[in-house]
Symmetry: C2
Subunit: 497 residues, 2 copies
Amino acid sequence: MSGKKGSCNNKVEAEGSSNGGLLLSCKAWAMSVWEFGRDEPNRVIFSLKVGLAVLLVSLLILIRAPYETFGTNIIWSILTVAIMFEYTVGSTFNKGFNRALGSLLAGVLAIVAAQLALCADRVLEPIIIGISIFIVGTVTSFMKLWPSLVPYEYGFRVILFTYCLIIVSGYRMGNPIRTAMDRLYSIAIGGLVAVLVNVMVCPIWAGELLHRELVKGFDSVADSLEECVKKYVEDDGLDHPEFSKTVMDEFPDEPAYRRCRTTLNSSAKLDSLAQSAKWEPPHGRFKHFFYPWSEYVKVGAVLRYCAYEVMALHGVLHSEIQAPYNLRVMFRAEIEEATGQAAELVRRLGKDIGDMNRTLKASLLKRVHASTERLQVAIDMHSFLLTSSYDRATSAAKTDGDTDANPSPPSETYHEMTRKTSKRLYSWPSREVDAYEEEAAVGNLLVPRMRALESTAALSLATFTSLLIEFVARLGHLVDAVEELSSMAKFKSEVEL
Amino acid sequence: MSGKKGSCNNKVEAEGSSNGGLLLSCKAWAMSVWEFGRDEPNRVIFSLKVGLAVLLVSLLILIRAPYETFGTNIIWSILTVAIMFEYTVGSTFNKGFNRALGSLLAGVLAIVAAQLALCADRVLEPIIIGISIFIVGTVTSFMKLWPSLVPYEYGFRVILFTYCLIIVSGYRMGNPIRTAMDRLYSIAIGGLVAVLVNVMVCPIWAGELLHRELVKGFDSVADSLEECVKKYVEDDGLDHPEFSKTVMDEFPDEPAYRRCRTTLNSSAKLDSLAQSAKWEPPHGRFKHFFYPWSEYVKVGAVLRYCAYEVMALHGVLHSEIQAPYNLRVMFRAEIEEATGQAAELVRRLGKDIGDMNRTLKASLLKRVHASTERLQVAIDMHSFLLTSSYDRATSAAKTDGDTDANPSPPSETYHEMTRKTSKRLYSWPSREVDAYEEEAAVGNLLVPRMRALESTAALSLATFTSLLIEFVARLGHLVDAVEELSSMAKFKSEVEL
């Protein structure tokens, strides 16, 4: 098919006219719209549902019978549908609740104020109404800034404008209770249509989205851990892009890292989905009442704590100070084993949540710990490689340290040096340590200052492995959090595979 | 004053009645509302402005003369004010633009559709109107999901409900153009009142808020760096809270860390403020057109990159594997010096942005680099402390590594061990290295496996300093980003102090 499309494109290009270019860009645009809809069919479903809801509520006016019953106030139903219809069932319920309670409160307030104003004489009446409008406007606006009331921001807006509309039109039409009632009826009809269409026609559940979002987070953390470690052990320092250039360019060659960063920034999304999900009745796979949606947010937070370590690992990968390639190759097997096991555990946790299974992770966790321990031992065995054996040179280095206070930043010169070194040591056998030490000692005699920095550079490998070990240490908390979610959400237990 | 309040409270408590309790909680509530308003007076100003705006627009109906001119359609002005009035000038402009363009587009669409429907016969007319409503509902809902159109979400809602209202009431009242015009007039009046009140009465500029938010971010990063390092060098490992308990409890004893995390999560806030600020005319300190608000977002992103390192440092501080206290004390002076200099540079950058000054940071940056280099040299000089001199024991450790594959997680046992060790070594003189080595060697004979882990634990110090050094390395990029902002925003140059 793509071949066919290609030939067609070529034909169009052969025409060479600006008309052809327009056609092409139109086609590209249509393709991207198609892709956008296909990626997430819920988008198309949502759009059609909105169309259906406004059509249904418009029929109340377009058809003669209901129009004659309800009168012109029915246009408020349309407004309600347009404003209330949200993407997920939960947020529609939430907004509907805000709308209903806000309208009700505003109606009661307006009736009270209008009765008060009616008691006063004809001159005082508009003054009382004006003051009451000012007070309601001020108080609702202040309240919606209050942190715990921020989720109900929309409700306060509804109170404000419903109050104003009822009291003002009541003043001009003379019967505030009648006005309030008519308007509440039509708002209720609009709200009902919005809720019914949203729930009955292919409902999009916030809970389902939250569930999928969390699982996606686990996968992206695992992927980006593997990607980052793979780049670290394979990076020979030759084609190292400048940090300053890549920091803003979103690291185009690291798709998993970008997804991980999305996970890091997803706390607001998880929060709002959980907020919406709480409004939803039991549905689909989430069969019992009071499903622990807030646990999803907590698991998400622990997952983010793990992801911070991945970010730190990524920071070391793109750090200005790099451990020599040969050193990284030396620990490659252990690092890759520990990483592989850790990533597998994270993926398994995500998969279990996704399938709503509850399995014991003890053996997996044990294996991760064992391989991490092997990495620790390997580092420990070769720890002399990470530092220079300075025992006798302490005093010499000390004076060196004092003269070293001159301000030229070390990273650049060092960086170039590493490239040369890594080229030179490229074919290094990973265990012939004595030879390495000799060479290092020669280097020491020639360039003492660089050698000092080389040692710090070798410590960069220690940093990388420490962060990896810390990541594994945090996995225990992640397992605990998932276990708590599993028990609270009553995931079905399975025998451990 | 607080003493007076205390005695008053005591008196109330002495009454002992539930009435008194209610009074007390009312008082506490009033106090917190007062605090909330005093923390940020803009909140009170905003609330009063909303009250004023709805009052002004209500006057158009309450007073006889304008009401007779505009008729009942004027209630749409109230709705517009209530919906359009936002906290900052920029977002009010933005919403006003959405409202105006949306209403205009909807009006044009509705007139076209209504004329089409009028051409058809009486039976077809409602069908055409119904289909057009469905199409508009579907298309606007789909478009507002498109990523680049998400900021205009409100505009699409406006198109939808304005279109429905005009075409439906036009169908029933017979003159769609007249209906559309009347409604557009009253919406324009509402919008005008909202904008005028928002700009004329104590305007709250999004640009000013963005400026302050960014400066606050610099301070919080500097504060939390210092706090974290201070805790690290002072922490003797005795009162180390469990990570699992603190991870969710927001680290109550670390206020700066929490502010730093707020900074990390502030990307959405900076984005939306910058989005609003672009709508604002030159004002206050931001005198020229096309002020580079998007640069603020970029500087914020680089600052977050620095903050990620602080998060990683914080991770090491609360890590399960800790370097012994005596080791930390040994490098304390160097670590604190480097930290102090780095924090000063960050604060200085923040202050310069805050004061809109442009100073050369070269000398400060040099000093930071110099002190970081001293830290590197110190680490290098004492690097043998970070690892064990394993040269001869390689093969022994290797077999150890193989047997070590049993799965018990090392962290806990090690953790307890560290506590004892740190107690034992509490009064350690920081430079008597030989004595330390002897003791370590004794430990080695007794508990070889723990010793392996102790070495990894000592590497945790290397991790901490590496991360600190990486933080300093990233400061260069931060200086660059601030420099670019300064030049684009034309901050006034000063001679370097």
